[in-house]
Each structure stands twice: as structure tokens, then as C-alpha cells.
């Protein structure tokens, strides 16, 4: 099983350092693999450099991929954080 979710960056500042760190922290709690894909680039969502490397600005579209035993919980928490615009709306 694997969960794939498309998300859009909706906050003004984009995926900057603070949300990147928060995402990595959230993801690291879970056992499942977590990847973020953008324009054919696939990075590990548990690494801060990786997430920052995406340089995802407002309006960009990402695909989140969760794979592993607790993927359901991980997907719920992280997707909701994206949908809340990293609590910056």
C-alpha cells in the first residue's frame, strides 16, 4: 500500500524554513517512508535540506508519498498541515 496526495502551497511565503522544519519533525515521528515529488524531483521528506531544496513557492504543486505501516496517520497529519497553509493564513 502507498498513499499519494497532491497538495498546493497556499501561504504567501511558500515552503520556507519554519514549515520545512515542522514537516521534517512531523514526518520523523512516523516509521513510514515519506517522499515529496516536484517536477520529477523526488526528495526525502524526513530531511531538512531535502525539503528546503524544493524551494516550493506559493502556488507550486507537490505530490506527497507515504509508504509504510503508519502511512495513514502520517498522511493525515502532514496533508492537513499543508492544507492549513502551514498555519500562516
Amino acid at each position: 500500500m502507498m498513499i499519494e496526495k497532491k497538495v498546493k502551497i497556499i501561504n504567501k511565503a511558500g515552503l520556507h524554513t519554519r514549515p520545512a522544519a515542522t514537516i521534517v519533525k512531523m514526518a520523523s515521528k512516523y516509521k513510514c517512508d515519506f517522499f515529496i515529488n516536484r517536477d520529477g524531483m523526488s526528495i526525502n521528506g524526513k530531511s531538512i535540506i531535502g525539503v528546503m531544496t524544493l524551494a516550493a513557492e506559493m502556488g507550486s504543486e507537490l505530490t506527497l508519498v507515504f509508504d509504510g505501516e503508519d502511512e495513514q496517520q502520517a498522511a493525515e497529519e502532514i496533508v492537513s498541515y499543508f492544507e492549513r497553509g502551514f498555519d500562516e493564513l
Partner: protein, 337 residues
């Protein structure tokens, strides 16, 4: 064995003429002689084309999607024609949707050439390089641009000149091993996000991203700038991928190689890369083992395969049937040091 997800292999579908101009003009000494029109034309083919036959009128099978190279042959031919014929000949070619033209050997387009190019919106570059040299340089640039790429997660280090990519789960200690190697004088290529590009047959080149270049994260510490901290000797921009080392927590059911005779490889974009799976155990110095992996690779490269030599020695011993006399030295001389 580690899974490499190849569904994310990307290959550029096109580059714009503008991109070519911005990135290859220095290498190929390109000068734009038309106005900056149609620089958004797309180049979709890495090959080049010399349009001699097309200019002469044979336009069946004309490879018009390629960058067109006009050398001495094409220019001399056009010079031989009168104005009317030249205009006609150029028009016949320009009617196709060609991306751009490069005129080599310091040749210059005449006024009719420029007029027609402006009318059809064809960008023209000149270069002082000979056709052969230009074709060589430009092909190499285009080959690289259109080569398949894949991003992988890991740490990529040059150890004694051997490109080792450390892979494994998050938090297993790839970055720590890398930092240790840098401290011992080896060079970081990239940490975390590695972009592999297939060059030719059987070669993968690895580099980092432009943003993440030579930064790395050490858990519990945060982000560090390796170039600033350790200096220019501690980094490099690109390296051929030669060995993949997968780190994993010791696993009783995992099948670790004992003799090294099996020569395991991992296919990435159809290139077989030597592959080592290293279990992590307390007291095990992964850094030193990585250096040994690199040295062993170099020995093999220069024709000495330790595991094979040992195997041969065993075979000889078995043949000679002298296995009861197995001390490393036959006789200790009067030297009790």
C-alpha cells in the same frame, strides 16, 4: 537490497534557444547576430544537422528540428548563387520551423541571409570555432542537457578519488559518516539530494542541487556549510558514481557478503553500479571501512582482486596437500623482538 525508484527519471523534452545561448555561449563562443527574437524556439533534439543538401533543394528527410550548423561548405555554396537564387534557397530551408542556426569558422551571414532570417524569425549565432570543434562542443552540451536524470537520497563523497554514494534509511548516520570522511581529508560532492545524470553508456555522474550545494544537516546540530568550514579542499562539484554503500542496522536475516567474490551490483538507469551492504554494529568504524572499500575498488581497478588472490592461494594449497604445515613463517630465526 535497496529500492531505487526509477519512476522519477526525468529527461528534458526541450531546451529553449535562450537557454542554449545563456549556458553554452561561453563554451562554444556563440555570438547572437540577429535581434533577440524567437529565442523561445524549442530545441527538442540533441543531434546537430548540416543542411547542405537542403540548401541545394533536397528537403525530403530534412532534419529541421535540430540545431543547424552552417560551415564553410554551406557558406561557399550560398556565395556561388546569385542574389535571387540565394534568397530562394534560404527561404526553402527557413520555411521549416528550425530552432536556430550556428555559422562556424568566423564566417558572417550576408545581408540577404540576415533579412530572410529576420522575416522567418530564425535566430543566428556565429562562432570562430571550426565546424568540427563546434560540433564536438555543442554535441557534448546538448547530450548532457538531454541525458536522463534521477534524484536519489543519500550522501555522495569522493573517497581517494572513488565516488561512494551512501544510502539507507533516514537517521542511520549517512551524514555523520560523511562528516567523518571530510574530516579525514575526503571530499563532499553532495549531501541529501543527489542528482544522477547518465552520461554515455555505463557512466553516471552525480552532483548536488544548486541550492543545497555543500550544506548538510547533522542531527541535533542543524545545518552546516561544509565549504566554509573545511575549505575548498573538502568539496567538489561533480563525481562519477562508482560504488553504492547501503547502511543498515544489523539484521540477522540479511545476507552480507563474506568473501567479496560475488561482485554485487545495483542497476540504476540500466547502469550496473558495484554495491556493498554494510551492517552497523557497535564499535564498527564505518568511516575506515568506507576507505577500505575505496582502496579495494582501486586495487581491483588496477588488476588486483584480494578475494580472488586468496581463493587462488587456497586452491594451490589444496593441490599441494601440505595443509598440516600452516604456520605463517617456517622458522623463527634468533630474533625475539
Amino acid at each position: 537490497m535497496i529500492k531505487i525508484d526509477e519512476k522519477n527519471i526525468v529527461r528534458k523534452e526541450f531546451i529553449t534557444v535562450k537557454f542554449l545561448y545563456e549556458h553554452a555561449s561561453k563554451i562554444c563562443k556563440l555570438k547572437l547576430v540577429t535581434k533577440e527574437h524567437n529565442l523561445e524556439n524549442k530545441i527538442i533534439d540533441q543531434n546537430l544537422h548540416r543542411p547542405g543538401l537542403a540548401l541545394a533543394g533536397f528537403v525530403d528527410l530534412f532534419s529541421y528540428t535540430r540545431v543547424q550548423v552552417y560551415g564553410n561548405t554551406e557558406l561557399r555554396y550560398l556565395e556561388k548563387l546569385n542574389d535571387e537564387q540565394r534568397r530562394h534557397s534560404l527561404r526553402r530551408v527557413f520555411e521549416f520551423n528550425i530552432p536556430c542556426i550556428v555559422i562556424t569558422d568566423g564566417n558572417k551571414p550576408d545581408s540577404i541571409f540576415l533579412e530572410e532570417a529576420a522575416k522567418f524569425g530564425v535566430p543566428i549565432f556565429t562562432t570562430e570555432f571550426s565546424t568540427t570543434k563546434l560540433v564536438y562542443l555543442l554535441s557534448d552540451f546538448l547530450d548532457d542537457q538531454f541525458a536522463p536524470r534521477l534524484t536519489v537520497h543519500g550522501s555522495f563523497v569522493d573517497v581517494y578519488g572513488v565516488g561512494i554514494l551512501f544510502m539507507g534509511k533516514s537517521g542511520i548516520g549517512k551524514s555523520e559518516v560523511t562528516l567523518d570522511l571530510i574530516e579525514r581529508g575526503h571530499r563532499l560532492v553532495a549531501d541529501d539530494v543527489i542528482i544522477l545524470t547518465k552520461k554515455g553508456e555505463g557512466i553516471l555522474m552525480g552532483t548536488g542541487t544548486d541550492l543545497g550545494k555543500h550544506f548538510m544537516e547533522i542531527r541535533g546540530l542543524g545545518i552546516i556549510d561544509v565549504e566554509r568550514m573545511f575549505g575548498i579542499r573538502a568539496i567538489r562539484y561533480q563525481k562519477r558514481l562508482e560504488i553504492i554503500v547501503e547502511l543498515e542496522i544489523w539484521n540477522d536475516s540479511s545476507d552480507y557478503t563474506r568473501t567479496g567474490l560475488d561482485g554485487r551490483t545495483l542497476p540504476i538507469m540500466d547502469v550496473e553500479i558495484p554495491y556493498v551492504k554494510l551492517p552497523i554494529l557497535p564499535g564498527k568504524n564505518i568511516t575506515v571501512i568506507s576507505e577500505v572499500i575505496a582502496l579495494n575498488y582501486l586495487l581491483k581497478h588496477y588488476g588486483y582482486d584480494s578475494a580472488h588472490i586468496f581463493q587462488e592461494r587456497l586452491a594451490e594449497k589444496l593441490k599441494a596437500k601440505t595443509s598440516n604445515d600452516n604456520r605463517g613463517i617456517n622458522y623463527f630465526e634468533h630474533d625475539f623482538e
